[in-house]
């Protein structure tokens, strides 16, 4: 069995190409388990998984929950109200309390960048980052990669256009890191107000027009635009945003004929994506959800099974 020398999954940043391949290969196997009638295994029997969500996310939380249950772990969900005043205090205090209950893995979602890493320093179990502020969302990037690899057979040299609110997107950061590590060509397409400083040095090609950015793309990955950023702050209006950056059938024509359409969800139909495309033949948005459970199974199995554990980091 290959070597995976990490105790936590805090981001894509620290992962090598073989380590990512290992996770994706295991996730492929996990897909088979999920498609059987008997979905429950005993891989993680006796182990305890706690989902600690400081930010509400039904989709990600249930995906992690299902992944743990299918591996036979005992899963507990903790949704902590996100009081904006003392978030951080709650984070450390809650983590220490939970740590005393001897969980084997903590799955953490928090609105502040670095929250998962901070928590990992304070607890004695494995930590999986389920999204920390605008920093990283590693399991999302892994599930996107798995979806692409299963559809295209490879990740190297394919062209992926990541479109929309890159500035605020942890999904974009994790995907840029992972796709580059695997040899894909990454483009970002967005109005300049929604791109982070230094984007041109993040190993991506930058476009401000969908037509140019999508040209010959193998994958079109749309990002969610948060409601509070729609009207007048980062873009003038929903109408104008959809006009220039919303993915509709017309804009999609610029991409390759068999290009995949992806979205991490939840979608704002009519804002960043039109229903005709979201529900169309090129869409793999539902497949992404399925791959999400598989990838999370692979991650937890890899982190928790002791035979994988080499020198810890």
């Amino acid at each position: 069995m290959s070597h995976f020398p990490h105790r936590h999954l805090l981001g894509i940043k620290g992962l090598t190409e073989p380590e990512i391949t290992l996770l994706l290969d295991r996730a492929d196997e996990a897909v088979q388990i999920s498609r059987q009638a008997q979905k429950k295994t005993s891989t993680l029997r006796g182990l305890t998984q706690i989902n600690l969500f400081f930010e509400a996310s039904t989709r990600t939380q249930s995906s992690f929950e299902l992944a743990g249950k299918r591996l036979g772990a005992d899963v507990m969900n903790m949704s902590v109200g996100n009081s904006s005043v003392k978030k951080g205090e709650t984070l450390i205090d809650t983590a220490m309390t939970l740590n005393a209950m001897h969980p084997d893995v903590l799955v953490v979602r928090h609105s502040s960048a670095g929250a998962a890493a901070l928590l990992a320093q304070k607890v004695s179990c494995s930590v999986v980052n389920a999204g920390d502020g605008q920093h990283e969302h590693p399991t999302q990037a892994l599930l996107d990669a798995l979806t692409i690899r299963r559809a295209k057979g490879k990740l190297s040299r394919i062209i992926v256009a990541i479109c929309g609110d890159v500035l605020h997107s942890r999904v974009a950061r994790s995907n840029i890191l992972l796709l580059n590590r695997m040899g894909a060509r990454v483009r970002v397409v967005a109005p300049a107000t929604l791109l982070p400083a230094g984007i041109a040095d993040m190993s991506v090609e930058v476009f401000h027009s969908m037509e140019e950015g999508l040209k010959d793309a193998d994958v079109v990955m749309m990002l969610r635009l948060q409601r509070e950023r729609m009207a007048g702050s980062f873009v003038p209006s929903v109408r104008e945003y959809f006009r220039y950056y919303g993915l509709d059938a017309e804009k999609l024509k610029a991409a390759k004929e068999d290009a995949l359409v992806m979205h991490p969800g939840p979608m704002n139909r009519g804002v960043e994506i039109a229903s005709e495309v979201a529900d169309g033949p090129q869409s793999v948005i539902e497949a992404q959800v399925e791959m999400g459970v598989a990838v999370r199974m692979a991650v937890m199995e890899t982190l928790l099974l002791s035979e994988n554990r080499g020198p810890r980091s």
Partner: protein
């Protein structure tokens, strides 16, 4: 004269009992003096300091201490120190800050008004100064709030506060956004011949930002603060300084563009000066690494190119002074996700050693460093300090320029431990600190 070797148990110089420190290198920027000689101290004052100081013989009944291999400098003057008293004594008291200052070779510091309550009233200045006199081992000066409650709206009683002993006016950590308030306060302050020391940060451009804007912040997913958030309000303030002819001190600049703005203001005759925190001379944004909150300061640590440019500007004297910007924070404000953590780093005990890195690297001459750490801040803020000239109060620091040491958290005297220099290796250490001729710190084991 009794001969003694330097030892911690040596009796501190008594008032009235003269003290002769011999065979040391004396660096006194006020007199552009750098020579080996003797420092004579009597009744809390310098009798003489230099090569010829012992020519008339040593005073009767005095104590002689051989200081071979040590350097005597005027005690450091730190004009930007945040203390927790009143209101946050668990972070730092005036007494604990003073002990930390003495350990760092600082003999005078100016306490910022960002306390609870804010130092914006005569009674509070009196409280602060009295506490300093009664409990602090170094000279404690008070900066008064320029606006009531630091809200940036109404000016405080500048004249009365000045009379009560405020050495300068500042809005502490809070910039002043309202240009009309600033204009009036500066116009009024001019008549009291006081300096106004401000930090600049645009309330809109800098809003929500937690570190230097750029690639690093983008990868970390942290909201960036653009350079213009410092530069634009600084240029604005410098225009108002020209307009009002008040004395303005840009307290904590971090960018070469800010130096240019200050240079331009000086060139057009404005009475302005510039300061920088030791952190911005010795650290850069890369030090933040994986969300290390002890490196979260305001203005944010900048890129390495900026740091180098600031060191160069310091060497040229375009940046006048260095402060520690000592800002004690506790685990409750620092052990948080980066964006939620408070700004600030302690620095009293490490400022000199960190600054000496610039001497050892050959980037800033020792004379200029001591000028920026002692002589010039004393002059800008009108303090009786910053020189070893005959007649000056005997505030001096003896340093061993070559002694290596490692910063150990548990040895810090500050009540708060949020140092960005934990485990840092320094060359050059404070050996003894004297205030008014009295030894207030010894670093000898």
């Amino acid at each position: 004269m009794t001969d003694t070797v330097l030892a911690p148990d040596a009796a501190p110089a008594q008032a009235g009992r003269p003290l002769a420190l011999t065979n040391l290198r004396i660096v006194d920027p006020a007199r552009n003096l750098d020579e080996t000689g003797t420092v004579l101290i009597a009744e809390g004052r310098i009798l003489a300091a230099g090569r010829d100081a012992a020519n008339q013989g040593l005073p009767e009944g005095g104590q002689r201490i051989d200081c071979t291999d040590l350097v005597a400098i005027p005690g450091l003057v730190d004009t930007r120190v945040f203390v927790g008293e009143p209101g946050a004594e668990h972070r730092e008291t005036i007494a604990s800050a003073a002990r930390a200052a003495a350990a760092g070779g600082i003999t005078s510091f100016v306490a910022m008004p960002d306390t609870d309550p804010v130092i914006d009233d005569v009674a509070l200045i009196e409280f602060l100064l009295k506490t300093g006199r009664d409990k602090a081992v170094v000279n404690v000066h008070a900066a008064a709030a320029l606006t009531r409650g630091l809200h940036g709206e109404e000016m405080t009683e500048l004249g009365l506060l000045r009379e009560a002993g405020a050495v300068c006016f500042t809005n502490g950590r809070e910039p002043i956004h309202d240009t009309l308030v600033l204009r009036r306060a500066m116009t009024y302050a001019r008549d009291f011949d006081t300096v106004i020391a401000l930090e600049t940060r645009d309330r809109y451009l800098g809003a929500g930002g937690v570190m230097n804007e750029g690639l690093l912040a983008s990868w970390l997913g942290l909201a960036g603060i653009p350079r213009e958030a410092e530069i634009i309000p600084l240029e604005r303030d410098l225009r108002i300084a020209s307009l009002t002819k008040a004395r303005y001190h840009a307290a904590k600049i971090s960018l070469p563009e800010s130096v240019e703005a200050v240079n331009a203001a000086k060139a057009r005759g404005a009475k302005v000066s510039a300061g920088i925190s030791i952190n911005h001379l010795t650290l850069n944004e890369n030090d933040i690494g994986d969300y290390r909150t002890f490196f979260k300061v305001s203005p944010p640590l900048r890129a390495e190119d900026d740091r180098r440019a600031m060191v160069e500007a310091l060497a040229k004297g375009e940046i006048d002074i260095i402060s520690s910007s000592h800002d004690p924070q506790d685990v409750d404000t620092k052990r948080l996700p980066f964006a939620d953590a408070a700004d600030g780093a302690i620095g009293l005990e490490t400022m000199l050693a960190a600054a000496l890195r610039l001497h050892h690297s050959g980037e800033v001459p020792l004379m200029r460093l001591i000028d920026a750490l002692s002589t010039r801040p004393a002059r800008i803020f009108g303090l009786d300090a910053g020189t070893l000239a005959p007649g000056a109060r005997a505030d001096l620091t003896l340093i061993d320029l070559e002694e290596p040491w490692v910063v150990a958290r548990e040895q810090l005297l500050s009540r708060s431990k949020n140092t960005p220099f934990e485990n840092a290796r320094f060359t050059g250490r404070v050996v003894e600190t004297y205030v008014g001729g009295k030894r207030v710190h010894t670093g000898r084991a």
